[in-house]
């Protein structure tokens, strides 16, 4: 991928302690903000991005030129109204859009690559909390996130319970399942099996593991869609031909689409970042973080005494983080006595539904933030 152009950037004043026991020095967090911060700083909404997302949620992506990833949700007059709210979205640490990650230079002036420490969702959030401290925002009006963004929102609510008044978690989970980990492992192996990966030290070379990264993206992309959605969009239709080629070109439209998604992704994402962030998601098990002994964690303990209001939303065709995962969180919040709303929305597009037009999602988000 190309070096990303500069966003607003915040330099952490101190080393960032990490769950692995190490600390990260000279950490930069790149972020975008939309809308004015009120004088009393009461209208700040932190939106956390998903695995391959970034800070450009309501402004064009500087590499691809495409609209921000949540423009239908965030903006003037939108459900998350930037005429009312000061919306902050920061690139997570470990990523590659300006925040410190494996492609950043380490203390020796060379890219970290695989010397970058393994990070967790809680580490990402710890970085975001330091950013909020730097902005003087003690209490968020809301923290909002879909998918991995939802994990960050949950982690913030559990570990820094005073920092957010409202917690909105969409199409997410409190722990990665065996199936979630399995799909991520396919992606990581595809990257690491690419000879151009070079044990992660490809930054100075001419070759980068684009083929491996593209395959990782293709496999993951399938998990973001539903069978119903794929069938409706592509069926068994052939791509630019009237009959099968009896070869291994992209005969089917769905193959062509996945190849396009895969190669497009390599233009804007770093393969090592993909390894690190998927690892962080696989390690995520919020109940376990609060367990007195490993494996004994009850998710309700993560939210004991919380004063935040929660809203969880799932989609009926999402098989990556199915409704049962949201219900599991809701039950834990009920057991903890938290104020919680939950609704399963109907949408044909699987996990990706949270990124697409959905009138009911708009109403729920807008109503919850009222």
């Amino acid at each position: 991928m190309a070096t990303p152009p500069a966003s607003k950037s915040f330099a952490l004043p101190n080393d960032l302690p990490l769950d692995c026991g190490q600390a990260l020095s000279n950490v930069e967090i790149a972020y975008e903000s939309y809308g004015e911060l009120a004088a009393d700083k009461s209208n700040a909404v932190l939106i956390c991005h998903a695995l391959t997302g970034d800070q450009y949620l309501a402004s064009p992506h500087p590499v691809t030129g495409k609209p921000g990833w949540w423009e239908q949700m965030v903006g003037p007059g939108k459900p998350i109204d930037t005429d009312r709210f000061h919306v902050i979205c920061a690139n997570v640490i470990g990523s590659c859009m300006g925040s410190t990650g494996p492609m950043s230079d380490g203390l020796d002036g060379k890219p970290y690559a695989m010397r970058f420490p393994v990070i967790t969702i809680r580490d990402m959030v710890r970085g975001l909390v330091v950013l909020l401290d730097g902005m003087g925002i003690e209490r968020l009006h809301s923290v909002v996130g879909g998918s991995m963004g939802g994990m960050q929102a949950l982690s913030l609510a559990a570990n820094w319970p005073d920092r957010a008044e409202r917690v909105l978690v969409i199409a997410s989970t409190a722990r990665h399942s065996a199936q979630n980990i399995a799909f991520h492992e396919v992606g990581r192996q595809a990257i690491m099996a690419d000879p151009a990966w070079q044990d992660g030290d490809y930054y100075a070379s001419d070759a980068s593991p684009d083929n491996g990264l593209a395959v990782a993206r293709m496999a993951a992309h399938i998990t973001y869609l539903s069978e119903e959605g794929l069938t409706a969009k592509f069926g068994r239709r052939l791509q630019d031909r009237s009959s099968k080629s009896f070869g291994f070109d992209a005969d089917f439209q769905v193959e062509s689409y996945l190849r396009y998604q895969g190669s497009g992704f390599t233009q804007r994402f770093d393969a090592n970042s993909y390894l690190y962030i998927t690892r962080a998601m696989d390690y995520f098990d919020l109940a376990d973080e609060f367990a007195k002994t490993p494996g004994s964690g009850k998710l309700a303990d993560a939210f004991a005494g919380t004063g935040s209001r929660f809203c969880l939303v799932s989609f009926d065709t999402d098989w990556l983080y199915p409704t049962a995962e949201s219900r599991h969180i809701v039950h834990a919040l009920n057991a903890a006595g938290a104020k919680v709303s939950f609704v399963e929305l109907s949408a044909p597009h699987g996990h990706d539904s949270f990124l697409l037009e959905h009138a009911a999602l708009d109403r729920v988000v807008q109503g919850f933030l009222e």
């Binding site: 209001r309 057991a335 919680v340 399963e344 807008q366």
Partner: protein, 195 residues
Amino acid sequence: MTLRPDLAAIAAHVAKGSRVLDIGCGDGALMAELESTLGVDARGLELNPAQVERCVARGLSVVQGDADSDLANYPDKAFDYAILSQTLQTAKRPDLMLDELLRVGAKAFVSFPNFAHWRTRAALMFGGRMPVTSALPLSWYETQNIHHVTIDDFRELARAKGAQIERSWFFAGEKQIGAPAANWRAEFAVFELSR
């Protein structure tokens, strides 16, 4: 806004600032009323996603779920009141539902249409068909009411379950009526229970 008479009776007898679980909360009318006038900490459970969406959009804490299975996830005595309005007769097992109400709530309010109302009896007696009345407006094949119940049946269930009937209210149409011969005269009943 005006509440349905059974809900108004309940709202009039919920203590200020108490914790309430409204099971089958519909569009959240009762919850909104309790929160705004009594400062109640209200939570809701509702099966219909469109209704839940409406509740969330008006700022209420409502969880989409099935009362038959999801009450089990609430801790004992988590609420001062558990409210079940016009939902008992739709439960798979109303007897077990009553146990759950009195487990999660210190007290319970239960309202239901009375199947022994004279008009219902007359429809069955003289028409020989399952009654369709203003209180029971849907035909047998489309109604969600799978366990029709009478006021006397409910009193008997409460007794068998060791539940105390603290208070009761009876309605014919929009009007509240007295307790005498309520099993004949009332279209709807509301009971306040404790154990």
